[in-house]
């Protein structure tokens, strides 16, 4: 019988292996699955390729994962924020690889990965350094660049409510990359603020249907990552 609920964040991230590609939801702090990321810090898988819009802030969440030297490469659109220190330092020292992707192309490449589309053409980045080395092709008199799907072994996603089938709804702009990342991973791992009974989520309002979700853990009071950053917290907790 179908029950995707697991009891702890540690159980949720079990099996993430060295060298895995891991997608992490969130736009900055909004939607970042802090508790799952911290469980992954504890779990110690290394040499990870991380796909995420940003590269972490302060010394918690994704920044902590990077600081713990578990990430060898990051695919993202905006690794620089006023409060990011870990990634910039390691990047300047050549200790982490960066693939910079325009934000919309990143989202579309992830969706394509989930939708069985291996590659598509997009007008974004044509004639810029980010299109260098890529195939450019003309359709109806305009140039487009060929972009390839991104798939992951695991996705770590934060949502608002889930049921045991894995149906998800999100909260406001914390939705961001969650739905497409759920689609694109072999194993999608979700932290939900609340787990509800089947049928409590209106089937018209389900954002991520359960077919895209494999493990769910309830984290009823998730940390506000921006607060942790402001308080200069570090993970493992200082």
């Amino acid at each position: 019988m179908i029950n995707k609920i697991v009891e702890s964040a540690a159980e949720a991230v079990a099996g993430i292996f060295d060298g895995a590609t891991v997608m992490i939801s969130g736009f900055g702090e909004a939607g970042s699955p802090v508790e799952l990321i911290h469980a992954l810090v504890d779990q110690r898988a290394k040499n990870l390729t991380v796909v995420s819009n940003n590269a972490g802030s302060g010394h918690v969440g994704l920044a902590a994962l990077i600081e713990n030297r578990q990430v060898s490469k990051i695919i993202c659109s905006f690794p620089r924020t006023t409060i990011s220190v870990v990634f910039p330092e390691m990047y300047r020292r050549g200790e982490i690889e960066l693939e910079l992707v325009p934000q919309g192309t990143l989202a579309e490449r992830i969706r394509a990965g989930g939708a069985g589309i291996p590659a598509f053409y997009t007008p974004t980045s044509v004639n810029t350094p980010l299109a260098e080395g890529k195939e450019v092709r003309r359709f109806n008199g305009r140039d487009y660049v060929l972009e390839h799907a991104i798939k992951a072994d695991f996705s770590l996603v934060k949502c608002h409510m889930a049921d045991k089938y894995g149906n998800l709804v999100y909260n406001k702009t914390a939705r961001n990359f969650g739905p497409v990342m759920c689609m694109a991973a072999k194993t999608t791992i979700v932290q939900a603020r609340k787990i509800v009974e089947l049928g409590e989520i209106d089937p018209e309002c389900v954002v991520t249907p359960g077919i895209f979700v494999h493990r769910i853990v309830e984290v009823s009071n998730p940390a506000d990552e921006s607060k942790l950053v402001a308080e200069e917290r570090r993970y493992p907790w200082n």
Binding site: M1, I2, R111, G113, G114, A115, G116, I117, D163, K164, Y165, N167, M183, E197, L198, G199, P203, E204, V206, P209, G210, I211, F212
Partner: protein, 228 residues
């Protein structure tokens, strides 16, 4: 099952039972229109299966009771259906992302012909008088990892439907995993046909006679011992 032995081969009900037996607990399943729809009625107890209908519903329930049909709740065959608690509605592009992206575990389809390499022909007779219509069949065979075919072993006029090479227009090439007929259950692997099981009263020789391509015993399948 004993009753079926009175005539050669399995009844439609038994064919559907055979398919249902191979659908694992927790599977996401898409059932084609017609004979495949019967499978839902025979999932063994203790297993929970979630049905996808490509027109935008995951968690399709039973056919709607007479009098409570909703014209805006239909399946891919345009039958009035219901939705289970825990269902989700979505649009067509998302629905086919599930299919094309490999998220549906199993689909069950009918067939005009299946080749020994697993090619499937089930959308067009090739007759120019017929109106061509493809629906979601090509998407399903391209995207779903396990494509099960349920079909009579032969046509009404006695011609083999399992053939060396399809002469009807293809739905997909090398896509079928397993064939369930009234006479046998046949696996397609490495471009060969392996007989898993035969209906009571069917012999390997009579099965070979009614099949348009060479069939093999399952014991000859590479790695068979390890897998069973």
């Amino acid at each position: 099952m004993e009753l079926a032995a009175q005539k050669e081969g399995w009844s439609l009900t038994e064919m559907a039972q055979n398919v249902a037996r191979d659908i694992h607990d927790g599977a996401y399943v898409n059932l084609g229109i017609g004979m495949p729809e019967m499978v839902a009625g025979f999932i063994p107890e203790g297993r929970e299966v979630i049905y996808h209908t490509e027109n935008g519903l995951l968690g399709m329930g039973a056919v709607a009771a007479s009098g409570s049909e909703d014209p805006e709740l239909v399946n891919a065959g345009k039958k009035y259906v219901t939705a289970i608690p825990g269902a989700a509605y979505f649009h067509h592009a998302d629905s086919f992302a599930m299919i094309r992206g490999g998220h549906i575990d199993i689909c069950v389809l009918g067939a005009y012909q299946v080749s020994q390499e697993g090619d499937l022909a089930n959308w067009s007779t090739g007759n120019p008088e017929d109106i061509p219509a493809v629906g979601g069949a090509m998407d399903l065979v391209a995207g779903v990892p396990s494509v099960f075919v349920i079909t009579k072993h032969c046509t009404k006029s006695g011609e083999a439907k399992i053939v060396k090479e399809c002469n009807y227009p293809l739905t997909g090439k090398k896509v079928v995993s397993r064939i369930y007929t009234d006479l046998a259950i046949i696996d397609v692997q490495n471009e060969k046909l392996f007989v898993r099981e035969m209906a009571p009263g069917v012999t390997f020789e009579s099965l070979q006679q009614q099949t348009g391509a060479e069939i093999h015993l399952i014991q000859e399948m590479e790695g068979h011992d390890k897998k069973e």
